[in-house]
Symmetry: C2
Subunit: 241 residues, 2 copies
Amino acid sequence: MCARVPNVADGMAPDRNRRRIPDATVSRLPVYLRILGEQAEAGVDNISSEGLAELAGVNAAKVRKDLSYLGSYGTRGVGYEVAYLVYQIRRELGLTHDWPVVIVGAGNLGQALAGYGGFGERGFPVAGIVDIDTTKVGTVLGGTRVRHIDELPQIVQTRRVNIGVIATPGAAAQDAADRLVKAGVTSILNFAPIVLSVPRAIEVRKVDLAVELQILSYHEQRRAGGAIHAVQSGTGRSATA
Amino acid sequence: MCARVPNVADGMAPDRNRRRIPDATVSRLPVYLRILGEQAEAGVDNISSEGLAELAGVNAAKVRKDLSYLGSYGTRGVGYEVAYLVYQIRRELGLTHDWPVVIVGAGNLGQALAGYGGFGERGFPVAGIVDIDTTKVGTVLGGTRVRHIDELPQIVQTRRVNIGVIATPGAAAQDAADRLVKAGVTSILNFAPIVLSVPRAIEVRKVDLAVELQILSYHEQRRAGGAIHAVQSGTGRSATA
DNA sequence: AGGCACTCGTGCACACATTCACAAAGCCAG
DNA sequence: CTGGCTTTGTGAATGTGTGCACGAGTGCCT
Ligand SMILES: NC(=O)c1ccc[n+]([C@@H]2O[C@H](COP(=O)([O-])OP(=O)(O)OC[C@H]3O[C@@H](n4cnc5c(N)ncnc54)[C@H](O)[C@@H]3O)[C@@H](O)[C@H]2O)c1
Ligand SMILES: NC(=O)c1ccc[n+]([C@@H]2O[C@H](COP(=O)([O-])OP(=O)(O)OC[C@H]3O[C@@H](n4cnc5c(N)ncnc54)[C@H](O)[C@@H]3O)[C@@H](O)[C@H]2O)c1
């Protein structure tokens, strides 16, 4: 495999895409959406980029640029109409209809997820939860009965599921991913601490608690001065300097 | 050991920047670290940037550049010594000692987190879990007794906690953050779906399930062609024009 | 010893993201 | 209708991240 010469023609799809929205923007739109929803509920009809930026904790210019990818939906001198903006963002994110999800793994985390109402409320109803452990099959979590993982293909097909959530131990996560892909799922949210290997066409996002904590640790360590190199010989670098 | 109190006078020297490691790199180091740990366990002594890149699902040049921020710890023609690299990454991430964490909110998620062994195993023992609901106080989760939130300052101080985890409903998250900051916590991992407002010096990372799902939704929608619904009528906006 | 195969470390060019700054556009008062 | 005020939308500047390409070490084989 080391002979594999970098193939230029590989990968990049031609620009058949309509307006492509930058990843960074896509990841902020849900935040704007939630804030706008809250504002709408509070009776706010109109909001400026600066107001929204404040609430979202970002720069106003960034808000304007982000929203400009959706089109020119603001009114100069006034701001954005909240309800209309909500509609546009929802449309762009594909939230005009529900996306049922299937959860693989009914352990600690799977149970918390299944019991969490916020899922369905936001347009992602739990179409099913499966586990390989037969002693867990049949129990009911958050109104959904746990089914055996062999029933996964059936759940995915009959409920038209596109999104799978992996909540198995790391050692089983690749197996879970393989099964999900085989069943027809095209997007995966992975909570297991491993790097999944899936076909290129499958969209994977990971939520890794250990990574997050270690990033915080990095900043704490560096805040503490980092240079506590006095007592222990442990810090003895400079060897190969 | 040598527990340096996290500096009361947060004035400190502004740019005490030794080598600053790019954020993107910091977020990948934990991934490398986990993989290297697995390799070490499997008896692998040495690994090349290409081998590590393959396992981490990234580009080999990126691995080399990332590792180069730690120093020149590789051997040309050979690769990196796994054990030494593990040591260096751990040191850089501040993982040479434990970072106790305190969890605020003992609901669905808080329980899953407290019951999750992977926390302590990776150097982040649960120093305490608190809740405002007195009916939850006293119950035991994952070996830790739930205590009342008023005890937060005491827990943070006696256990020297720097990292707080917020697992309360969104409406209570800002309150939780305020209490954590007041108690002396300087890093926060937030699971609630709101934008926290904290002093600049506090490091906050968020894990937002709804955002992740909506990003997946965006890609699904765009994969589907985006124009599935021609049926929908009015834009809902007061017809401008 | 010399040559050769291998792999690191990094300069460089390009891509992506953020922020600034300002003209264009809308609103309103008079 | 005009002028002043506000806020958008976006070009341009700056900052950050990625990936290629290749020189420079290193170890092994002859
Ligand atoms: N619990 C948490 O708070 C938490 C936090 C962060 C990350 N995680 C990660 O989430 C994952 C799940 O954690 P958990 O605490 O729920 O673990 P768990 O052991 O409680 O649950 C795992 C479940 O997956 C099932 N399972 C195992 N192999 C399977 C397979 N091949 N197919 C289907 N189901 C299978 C098991 O039967 C079990 O019910 C782990 O990877 C963990 O690292 C959990
Ligand atoms: N459960 C999940 O799987 C899940 C998934 C994604 C996100 N979340 C988010 O995590 C958070 C917690 O979810 P959950 O399902 O555990 O909710 P939950 O309602 O089960 O638990 C919340 C807990 O917080 C406690 N609490 C409320 N106000 C408090 C305060 N001011 N101080 C301290 N404790 C307080 C409550 O007593 C309760 O025990 C929510 O913000 C939710 O959106 C949960």
